[in-house]
C-alpha cells in the first residue's frame, strides 16, 4: 500500500487550566490515503474536532499536544508557525460547523475568497476575481457575480457554507476536513451540502475527513469510518463492514439509534448515559460504564486494538463478531 497522505500516530491533547487536567484526545492513530473519504463519528465531546484542530495547530496555547501528524514526511506537531501556515489551506483545508460565524462580518465574501487565492495561488485583481467566480460556480452559488460583493449577513447559512467550501477549495488542498459542515443547517440544505462535497471530491480527487455525530450522514458519503469515543478511536472499518458487522458495543449502539429506511421501523434508542468529561475519564475501557456487556476486566484494563479483518479494527475485550450486545428493539406499533 502506498504511503498515506496524512498519518497520525499517538496524538494526544491535554487541556490543563491549572485546576484540573483534561485529556480530550488520547493516543489517536489514523491514516488518510490520498483521495480517500473518511468519516469520523462520535457523540458530542468525544474529541473529533480537537483531533484535527490539534493537527493543524489551531488550538489555544494552553492545549498541550503530543504525538505525530505527518504529511509528506513533515511532522506538524510542534512545527514552526511558518510550516503550519504553509500547510493550512494549502495542503489541508478545514471547514466548520457554523458557517455564518466563520466568515468575517465586515468583509465582502468575494474579498474573503480572493484573500485565499492571493495567498495560495498568487492571484490578484482580475485573475483572482475570475477564479473566485469559477469557484462560486463550482460550489453552486447562483448569480455568483452579484454575490461577490455581498456581506455574510446577507446570505443564508447554506450559502455561507458554500462560500466556506469555495474558500477551502481556493488553495487546491489535498485534504479537506469538514467538521460537522451541515449540523447548523436545515435538513434539505444539509443534503445539498453533502452532495456538493461528494461531487467536489470526485471532481478534484482530494481526500476528505467528514466529521459528524450522525453515523447516517457519514455512511452515505465516505469509504471508511472511524468511530471515536472519549478521546479514542474505538473502531474503524470500511463503511459496509461497519454497518454489517459492527464490533464495538459503542458502534452497535450508534447504529441501533439510526432510523432505517428499508427495514421495519424501529424505536430510536439513544445510548443511555453520556460521554465522560475529559477531566473525569474512567480507567480501563472508557465505554464500560455505559456498556451492557461490560465485565470486571473492562473497568480495569484498557482494551487493545484488535484486527478483525484487513482495514477493520475494534478496541474491545470481547469478540462479539457482529452480534449486537444491545437488547433487541421491538418493532414500532
Amino acid at each position: 500500500m502506498a504511503a498515506p497522505l496524512v498519518s497520525i500516530r499517538g496524538l494526544s491533547v491535554d487541556f490543563d487550566d491549572g485546576r484540573r487536567a483534561a485529556r480530550a484526545v488520547d493516543g489517536v492513530d489514523a491514516d488518510i490515503a490520498a483521495g480517500e473519504a473518511v468519516g469520523l463519528v462520535g457523540e458530542s465531546g468525544s474529541g473529533k474536532s480537537v483531533t484535527w484542530l490539534a493537527a493543524l495547530g489551531l488550538l489555544p496555547n494552553r492545549a498541550r499536544v503530543s504525538g505525530e501528524v505527518r504529511i509528506g514526511g513533515m511532522n506538524l506537531i510542534g512545527a514552526e508557525r511558518r510550516v503550519l501556515e504553509g500547510v493550512r489551506g494549502k495542503r489541508i483545508a478545514m471547514i466548520f460547523q457554523d458557517p455564518s460565524s466563520c466568515l468575517n462580518p465586515v468583509h465582502r465574501i468575494g474579498r474573503q475568497v480572493t484573500e485565499a487565492l492571493r495567498l495560495h495561488r498568487g492571484m490578484d485583481g482580475r485573475a483572482a476575481e475570475a477564479e473566485a467566480l469559477r469557484l462560486f460556480d463550482q460550489v453552486g452559488i447562483a448569480d455568483a457575480k452579484r454575490r461577490l460583493s455581498d456581506y455574510p449577513h446577507q446570505l443564508s447559512g447554506g450559502l455561507n457554507q458554500r462560500v466556506m467550501i469555495a474558500i477551502a477549495l481556493a488553495g487546491q488542498p489535498e485534504l479537506l476536513i469538514a467538521d460537522e459542515p451541515t449540523t447548523a443547517l436545515d435538513a434539505t440544505i444539509q443534503a445539498q451540502i453533502l452532495l456538493l462535497l461528494s461531487r467536489i471530491r470526485r471532481e478534484t480527487g482530494m481526500a476528505m475527513v467528514l466529521i459528524s455525530h450522525d453515523l447516517g450522514v457519514v455512511a452515505e458519503n465516505v469509504d471508511r469510518v472511524c468511530v471515536m469515543y472519549a478521546g479514542r478511536i474505538v473502531e474503524q472499518a470500511p463503511g459496509e463492514a461497519l454497518f454489517d458487522t459492527p464490533h464495538h458495543p459503542y458502534t452497535q449502539g450508534l447504529l441501533a439509534a439510526l432510523p432505517t429506511l428499508t427495514g421495519p421501523r424501529r424505536r430510536l434508542a439513544a445510548i443511555p448515559g453520556s460521554v465522560p468529561e475529559p477531566w473525569n475519564l474512567p480507567v480501563g475501557c472508557r465505554f464500560a460504564p455505559r456498556c451492557p456487556a461490560a465485565e470486571e476486566r473492562c473497568r480495569h484494563e484498557a482494551p487493545p486494538r484488535r484486527v478483525i479483518a484487513p482495514a477493520h479494527q475494534a478496541a474491545c475485550h470481547f469478540d462479539v463478531a457482529g452480534q449486537s450486545v444491545w437488547p433487541a428493539q421491538e418493532a414500532a406499533e
Binding site: L58, V87, C102, L103, H107
Partner: protein, 307 residues
C-alpha cells in the same frame, strides 16, 4: 449609506434642538435671572428695567422662541457682566482648551490603543498583567489628585516644569499629561477587551485555518472588527474633550473654556453659561455624529439596517 448618513444627520439636528430647549428650561427653573444678577435688595424699578432690557417680561413661550431662534443662529446675547457677545467670549477661549485637550486625546489613543492590542495578543503574559495594573491605577485616580501629584513632583520638587499658568509651551505639559493618563488607561482596557472578544470569534480560527499568517489574521480580521466597539469610547472621549477640562484647567489656572464655565456660573452670567452649554453640546453631538458615521463605515450590518 446615503440614507444612513441622512438619518444620522437628522438625529443630530433633533438632539441639538433638544439641548437648546433643555438649557432654556433648566436655567429658567433655577430662578429669576433678574433677581439672581441684580441681588434681591435692588430697587424694584431697576429690576423692572433689567427685565425689560433682557425681554424677561414677555410671555415665557415668546422668550423661548426668541431664545431658540437666536441660539440656533449662534446669537446668545451679550454677557450680562461685561456686555460683549457671549459667544465671542466662549469662542476666544476654545483654542486654549483645544491646545491641551487635543494633545491629550492623541496621548490617550496613541498609548491606550497599542497597549490594549498588545495586552490582548499576549493575554495573561507578564506584560498583559502589568499593563492592566497600571491602567487600573491610571483610571481610578481622580484627575485633581494626579494633577497635584504631578505638580508636586515635576513642578515643586524637581522644578522641571511650570506648575500653573499659560505663558509657554511648557505650561501645557502637565495639564496634557494629567488629562491623557486616565483616558489612556481606559482606552487600553477597552481596546484589550474588544480585541479579546474578537479573537475568540469563529472567523478568527477560520482565517487561521485558511493559512493566513498570524499578523495578517490580526491586521485584517481582528483589528477592523475590534475597531467597531472601540469607536464608541473614542467618540465619548472626543465628545467630552471640551467639557472634560474643567477640573484640570482650574487646577493649572489654564485659561480655557473650563475656567470660563466656572467663573460664568459663579457670576451668574446667564448668556455666557448658555453659550458655553451650547458649544459643549454641539461639540458632543458632532462627535456622536462622527461615531455613527464611523459605525456605518466600519460595520456593514449597521449600514444596511440589519441587526
Amino acid at each position: 449609506m446615503l440614507a444612513f448618513a441622512l438619518s444620522r444627520l437628522a438625529r443630530a439636528a433633533i438632539t441639538i434642538l433638544f439641548v437648546v430647549t433643555f438649557a432654556f428650561i433648566v436655567l429658567r427653573l433655577s430662578g429669576d435671572p433678574a433677581l439672581l444678577i441684580m441681588s434681591v435688595d435692588a430697587p424694584p424699578e431697576a429690576i423692572e428695567a433689567f427685565r425689560k432690557a433682557w425681554g424677561l417680561d414677555r410671555p415665557i413661550w415668546e422668550q423661548y422662541l426668541a431664545y431658540a431662534w437666536h441660539a440656533l443662529t449662534g446669537d446668545f446675547g451679550k454677557s450680562m457682566r461685561d456686555g460683549r457677545p457671549a459667544i465671542d467670549l466662549v469662542l476666544e477661549r476654545l483654542p486654549a482648551t483645544l491646545a491641551i485637550t487635543l494633545p491629550a486625546l492623541a496621548l490617550k489613543l496613541g498609548i491606550g490603543i497599542p497597549a490594549g492590542i498588545y495586552a490582548a495578543l499576549h493575554r495573561n503574559s507578564l506584560a498583559d498583567r502589568l499593563t492592566m495594573m497600571v491602567s487600573v491605577a491610571g483610571f481610578t485616580m481622580p484627575s485633581f489628585v494626579l494633577a497635584l501629584v504631578l505638580v508636586l513632583i515635576f513642578g515643586v520638587t524637581l522644578g522641571w516644569l511650570p506648575a500653573s499658568g499659560a505663558d509657554s509651551v511648557w505650561h501645557a505639559v502637565l495639564p496634557i499629561v494629567t488629562l491623557g493618563t486616565a483616558g489612556a488607561a481606559i482606552m487600553a482596557r477597552f481596546t484589550r477587551s474588544a480585541m479579546l472578544e474578537v479573537l475568540g470569534q469563529p472567523y478568527i480560527r477560520a482565517a487561521s485555518a485558511k493559512g493566513l499568517a498570524w499578523w495578517l489574521v490580526v491586521a485584517k480580521h481582528a483589528l477592523p472588527n475590534a475597531a467597531i466597539p472601540t469607536v464608541t469610547i473614542i467618540g465619548f472621549m472626543v465628545g467630552s474633550l471640551v467639557a472634560g477640562a474643567v477640573i484640570v484647567e482650574s487646577v493649572f489656572a489654564w485659561p480655557g473654556i473650563g475656567r470660563l464655565l466656572v467663573s460664568a456660573v459663579a457670576n451668574r452670567d446667564l448668556a455666557v453659561v448658555q453659550a458655553l452649554l451650547m458649544v459643549i453640546a454641539a461639540w458632543m453631538v458632532l462627535a456622536n455624529l462622527c461615531v455613527d458615521l464611523a459605525y456605518g463605515w466600519l460595520d456593514p450590518r449597521v449600514r444596511s439596517g440589519a441587526r
